[in-house]
């Protein structure tokens, strides 16, 4: 069946991509209206993509429970959590799903404030512990490069904390020594490297977009 083949999607990509490329150079109000229409379409489709993400995860946990794969017991909690939030969200303090509530904390907010925020915030902070243990165990100055990396890291870490100003005052008589050293590292070697990297990446991004436009790159459509 012709519709199944890649030809039409690739034509859409090429035509729409070319229009999207050209409209940037056209100041005419028509180009602005075309851009407004296309971006609002993308926005609407984006809503369905969010739904897709949620569905695939639920599907994954359902299969995990159905197949009793390792740790399936814990997947039950995914449904408990999701069910709690969806029921509370739809019940919406008795106003039903279509009303928005202004001000006041509902059970829906309670779930967010007391489950999502603490868990989300804590997981990242565990990294501080891992970093300290890795600092002692794995961060080795194996070669010149790694040594430079660690030296720059120590200077920057010290310079960006207030204690460096008090130490600077005791040792060098001026509190600005370490912060100025850190600024020098950031403004010169760091700027040079980050600018070089950014130019390299951007050339890669442009050539990637071009390959997508001309259908050279089509893995995102799922090869058949």
């Amino acid at each position: 069946m012709f519709l199944k083949r890649l030809t039409i999607p690739l034509i859409i990509v090429f035509v729409l991509g070319l229009l999207a490329f050209v409209q940037d150079y056209v100041p005419h109000p028509l180009a602005g209206e075309f851009r407004e229409e296309m971006t609002s379409w993308s926005r609407i489709i984006g809503g369905f993509a969010l739904f897709l993400g949620a569905y695939s995860l639920l599907h994954m946990h359902v299969t995990r429970i159905r197949r009793k794969t390792a740790g399936w017991g814990y997947s039950v909690f995914v449904f408990i959590g999701a069910a709690f939030m969806i029921v509370v969200g739809l019940h919406n303090e008795g106003l039903g799903p279509l009303q928005d509530i202004e001000g006041g904390t509902t059970w829906f907010d309670w779930g967010y404030d007391n489950i999502v925020v603490p868990c989300g915030g804590t997981i990242f902070s565990i990294l501080a512990f891992f970093m300290a243990s890795a600092a002692f165990r794995t961060f080795r100055a194996r070669n010149l490069g790694a040594a430079l990396l660690l030296i720059a890291a120590v200077i920057v870490m010290f310079g960006r904390v207030p204690i460096s100003e008090t130490v600077g005052q005791w040792v060098f008589g001026s509190s600005a020594v370490f912060p100025k050293l850190t600024d020098a590292i950031m403004d010169y070697p760091n700027l040079a490297a980050k600018r070089g990297i950014m130019l390299g990446i951007s050339l890669g991004a442009i050539s990637q977009s071009m390959r997508i436009l001309f259908g050279i790159e089509r893995s995102y459509l799922g090869g058949d």
Partner: protein, 579 residues
């Protein structure tokens, strides 16, 4: 270019009295009686031949451009005044607006250029709704829209406002100074004065908004603008009144909700109509005159005894010339990459330098299969549109091919449903191409979590339980990179990492055996797969890098030397300015 210096008949016209409403703040003070006593020597006036008006290039048709050359001896303390009117005879009747342009320092070139957008509120904006007046209040009372009591209260408030405004020293701002919105809201400039009790101020603001909304809704049921049927209009007016009278039974609230949705829809229509009104005004032919103002006398640039009048029409342009450098760079660079891809299709052995990390890929898979341990492949958090993820999917194809040949398992764990689907297809294809379709187990390529950190905990848990021999961390990573890399290091597996997320590279560099830095990840998929489109684009990108390097070296040296010797090569640098 020797400017022809023609003896200009200097026409000293008494300052045109300003008939236009004094509402626009820029106009030079109307000059009163001719200057007292002291005769002001006539300043030199720009050459009429250089005085031109035209459509502003590269714009959306909202502005016209007026140009004139700097006169030979520009007098001190003068200012240029551009006057704009709808037709030549409007100048005589004084119906024009003006824009003052201060003289610029000599070294900024000798061509003055100013852009005028006729429909902007400094010149001829589309008509705004009239403010609330006493007669309007009486009409409303007659139509029973407001009660007698409300009429009296409103009049009392209006009088106290007049008294407050006429008090000396109270510089109440001119009425039309609020931003060009079509609706004057209670918070806008014509605010009742301070000492009115706050409660009266709020009440009067709500009344004014109520009246304004009524007229605004009615404007959609007139002959030429039929957006609302009579039934809808009366329903809307009823809802508006119920909201103004703050009646909130369930029925009222539903009606008021319907009203708000209606007003939102009409507001959108109103906005697009306003855009058309502005475009219509801008696209008319406008006439301009130029004068040099010294003190408060104007000396017009004249031709044959009369002030010179130029005319122009603002048109929407189809190409923004300021972006020419952007267009050329994009087209030429894309053409180069496209050409190299074609070349790479014919010459597969296009040279590509050795990438240390990749040499170890086969070695890692080999060692892992010797120890009879699975190979782990972690995509990171990127979606299918992410460059690093697409590159890592390409590398996954090769890794899966190798594990299939070594009769071993590759376990792919990721967080994005679409990447999971694509990876499943890629691994399945690799196993079938290696002639072992049965060895492919779909559950090996699975989506293990939905959220970044539950993903890390899941992957770390699986790593510790299944003790892999080789771990590939390729794709886009965020803060969880250290957790993965450290757990991997503790299981003793060979770790090869690669990401374009530069904030995570320090951790990969200090914990993994090999790290592909940024673009090397893209080069890796090209190096491995020898795929013409990747090889070609890498070579094309190298040409782009070479160009950037040359421009940077030559550009900064030349500009530095020029600056040392005082030559102004700013035009050279502006070639690369993005605007």
């Amino acid at each position: 270019m020797l400017r022809a210096w023609s003896l200009v008949a200097v026409i000293a016209l008494p300052g045109a009295t300003q008939a236009a409403p004094a509402s626009h703040p820029v106009s030079a003070a109307a000059s009163s009686a001719p200057a007292s006593g002291a005769v002001i020597s006539a300043p030199t006036v720009p050459d009429p031949a250089s005085f031109k008006a035209m459509d502003k290039p590269s714009d959306d048709g909202s502005a016209m451009r007026v140009e004139w050359a700097r006169p030979a001896r520009e007098a001190e303390g003068i200012a240029y005044v551009v006057e704009i009117a709808e037709s030549p005879n409007d100048f005589k009747s004084g119906k024009f607006k003006s824009k003052v342009v201060k003289p610029s320092p000599p070294d900024e070139g000798d061509l003055y250029r100013t852009d005028i957008s006729p429909a902007s509120d400094k010149f001829f904006p589309p008509p705004e709704s009239p403010p609330l007046t006493a007669e309007r209040l009486k009409e409303l009372a007659a139509e029973k829209v407001i009660t007698g009591g409300e009429l009296a209260r409103a009049q009392a408030i209006m009088e106290s406002m007049q008294r407050a405004q006429s008090k000396p020293g109270d510089q109440s701002r001119p009425a039309a100074e609020s931003k060009p919105g079509t609706q004057s809201s209670p918070g806008s400039a014509s605010e009742p004065s301070a000492e009115l009790p706050r409660e009266d101020k709020d009440w009067f603001g709500r009344l004014r908004e109520y009246v304004h909304n009524r007229d605004w809704l009615k404007s959609f049921a007139t002959a030429e603008n039929r957006a609302l049927t009579d039934g809808q209009l009366s329903r809307a007016l009823a809802a508006l009144e119920s909201e103004y009278r703050e009646r909130n039974t369930a029925g009222d609230r539903a009606e008021q909700d319907w009203l708000h949705r209606l007003m939102a829809f009409l507001k959108e229509k109103d906005q697009s109509e306003q855009k058309d009104r502005i475009a219509a005004i801008n696209s008319r032919t406008w006439y301009v005159r130029l004068a040099v103002m010294k003190g408060d006398k104007k000396f017009y640039v004249g031709e044959g005894g009369q002030p010179a009048i130029r005319s122009a029409r603002a048109k929407a342009n189809y190409f923004n010339w300021a972006k020419l450098n952007n267009l050329l760079f994009s087209l030429i660079f894309c053409a180069i990459v496209f050409a190299f891809i074609e070349v790479a299709k014919r010459r597969r052995n296009l040279f590509l330098r050795k990438i240390a990390g990749l040499e170890a890929v086969d070695e890692a898979i080999g060692r892992s299969t010797e120890m009879d341990r699975p190979v782990f492949f972690v995509h990171g958090l990127g979606g299918m549109g992410d460059l690093a993820t697409i590159a890592s999917v390409n590398i996954l194809a090769r890794v899966a091919r190798r594990t299939a040949e070594h009769d071993s398992r590759v376990r792919v764990m990721n967080v994005d449903p679409i990447v999971t689907a694509v990876s499943q297809e890629v691994v399945q294809q690799a196993y079938t191409e290696a002639g072992r379709p049965d060895a492919y187990n779909p559950d090996d390529v699975s989506l293990v979590a939905s959220d970044q950190f539950s993903y890390v905990a899941a992957v770390s848990g699986i790593m510790v339980r299944e003790q892999p021999g080789a771990i590939f961390l390729l794709g886009s990573f965020y803060a969880e990179s250290l957790l993965l890399a450290e757990t991997g290091a503790s299981t003793g597996a060979i770790q090869i990492a690669g990401t374009d997320a530069y904030t995570q590279l320090p951790f990969f560099i200090t914990t993994c055996d090999y790290t592909l830095i940024g673009e090397e990840l893209y080069a890796a998929s090209a190096y491995l797969s020898r795929e013409p489109r990747l090889l070609g684009s890498l070579r094309g990108q190298d040409v782009g890098k070479a160009f950037l390097m040359i421009v940077m070296i030559v550009g900064s040296l030349v500009l530095t030397v020029a600056a040392v010797f005082g030559a102004n090569l700013d035009w050279l640098r502006r070639i690369f300015s993005a605007n």
